[in-house]
Every structure is written in structure tokens, then in C-alpha cells.
Subunit: 76 residues, 2 copies
Amino acid sequence: MSEAAYLQVARDLREQIRDGRLKPGDKLPSFNALCAHYEASNTVIRAAMLVLKAEGLIDGRQGKGVYVTDRASKSN
Amino acid sequence: MSEAAYLQVARDLREQIRDGRLKPGDKLPSFNALCAHYEASNTVIRAAMLVLKAEGLIDGRQGKGVYVTDRASKSN
DNA sequence: CCACATTTGTCCGTATGTATC
DNA sequence: AGATACATACGGACAAATGTG
């Protein structure tokens, strides 16, 4: 196991944000969509979300979705 | 539900670190011990750990334990 | 070296709550 | 009222590292 699945997911999404494929204000794919895409369980997706959330890159809102924050594309 | 259990656990441990009750290099109670103390499942403890880890306050090592990092007591 | 217990790391499936549409 | 979607939590399973005997 070179790297944990949730870290891979986190890094993948982080790169998408850094690259601009995901821009501030954008809504990430839904939970189920991410589970399907990465072929992982909710646990993995949630852990990845928690990491990115701690980094201040994303912000989830109940009933709506997970959104890329403003500071996500900045240099910090 | 005022606050999620895993956030309460994270905050409690964070305060212990900030207060100096847990010093850099110290080993946190074991997983099971924390589960018992907070009367929570492993999921809650793990989520709290993930948060504190992302904050750079702690660092876990398989087979050993979870330790308070150096920068934990600093002003950052 | 091997066996064992301990402890963290990772992941799964499910259930329930809550907010939005 | 119902569907969708995130948030939280539970409990269990197996892997990997460590220390001890």
C-alpha cells in the first residue's frame, strides 16, 4: 500500500483545485458520485473531505453540496 | 446537537495541549482508552485525530502511539 | 526467528439526522 | 411530501508496526 486511498483522493481533488479545473465557488461532485468515481466507500471520501476542509480548500453545506472556497486558488 | 462529538474530542485534546497538560513528546492515551473515556466509537476518535493531525498538533505512529508534536505548544 | 499482544492505520457497510430543493 | 445530499456516528474487519518474551 503505497498511499492511503483517502490521501490519494484528497491529493487528486487538491490538484484539480490548484489547476483551476475546480474553481472557487464550484460545487464538487456529490458524495455518491465521488464514491463511484474513486470506487471507494463513504469513509474514504469523508476522510479526504476532512483533510481538505482542514486545509481550508473546501467547505461542505448540508443539503447543498461541497464547495471550493475562495482561498483555494490563492498562493498560500 | 450543538457540536459534533469528534469536534468536541478534538477541541478537548487541543486545549490539553495548549494548556500544557499534554506536552510535546507526550504520548496520548491509546485508542481504546480514548474511546472509553469519551464513550465514543473509533470513528469519532479517528476523526478527531485526523483534525489534530491536519493542524500539526499530533503525529501518530503505528504500533507505538500518538504523540504531541513540537510546534504543538508554540504560538502558531 | 517466531509468537503474541498492543496500538495505530485503513476501509467497509449501514443507520440516522438535518438541510435543501 | 418526497428526493437528494451532506454530517455524524456506530461497529466491525484486516493490515502494519512495535515491543516483549
